[in-house]
Symmetry: C2
Subunit: 144 residues, 2 copies
């Protein structure tokens, strides 16, 4: 998995530095939604001298090359990144505690894409921002 990505990047002229490799490893290991900051903290456990700017430069590069997908609009949270290879899904985020779960179903179907085409737009990318109340926080609300 990591090797395939690395190979592809290498073919494109990118170099495989230890920093780059560890960043990828951590993202693959976690297999979740991560912020630049969270990636930084994970990577620093193994490579303490890495700068946050290197993290940013790399996640931007990986995003441009289709390895990562940026998930914006998680409430007031900053952008999170996810591996692109994962099967397409969305997330519900709890407005109280910030916890998120994956939703495997996607409401953007062929019909909807056709509708957009009629409006003159060819859909390239989409992201469904879902904010809700998780079971736990809902209970807390009710008991007040």
């Amino acid at each position: 998995m990591i090797y395939d990505v690395m190979k592809k990047l290498k073919e494109k002229g990118y170099r495989i530095t230890p920093q780059r490799r560890i960043i990828m490893e951590k993202i693959v290991q976690t297999a979740g939604l991560l912020t630049a900051d969270e990636i930084w903290n994970l990577v620093r456990q193994e490579y303490s001298d890495i700068g946050l700017d290197t993290i940013y430069r790399n996640i931007n590069m990986l995003t441009e090359n289709g390895v990562l997908i940026p998930i914006t609009g998680m409430g007031k949270e900053r952008t999170r990144y996810e591996l692109a290879h994962a099967n397409h899904h969305h997330h519900v985020v709890c407005v109280k505690c910030g916890n998120a779960v994956c939703i495997d179903y996607c409401p953007i179907d062929e019909e909807f894409i056709k509708l957009l085409r009629k409006s003159g737009y060819e859909l390239i990318r989409h992201n469904v921002e879902l904010l809700g109340l998780c079971a736990k926080c809902k209970l807390c609300e009710e008991n007040r």
Copy 2:
């Protein structure tokens, strides 16, 4: 329209300052997606001494009180605000030129809300981020 909002805010203990009124007026007049910065520029035409911080304080207040809805994830753009009373819709944004159009249809239906409930989440708010290529930019792409 503006009077109803003002009345409600007044009842909640907020004061009606000229700044606040002009901010509301400009947003209602424009009836579109506006950034804090754009609102600032509109308001300054009439009230040149207003600070950007006042704009921020007011849009935050109006958002907390359900008058405005924040629309995040417009590509790499910053948060835009829209009047909450407008009938529910979404937007497609062109990745090239940044132009957006409203899409009156919403793919988040009752079925989907039930599905989320099964996952333990009660949906509160949603936003569908759609990035595409507009007709104009698509033409440019093809002619290269």
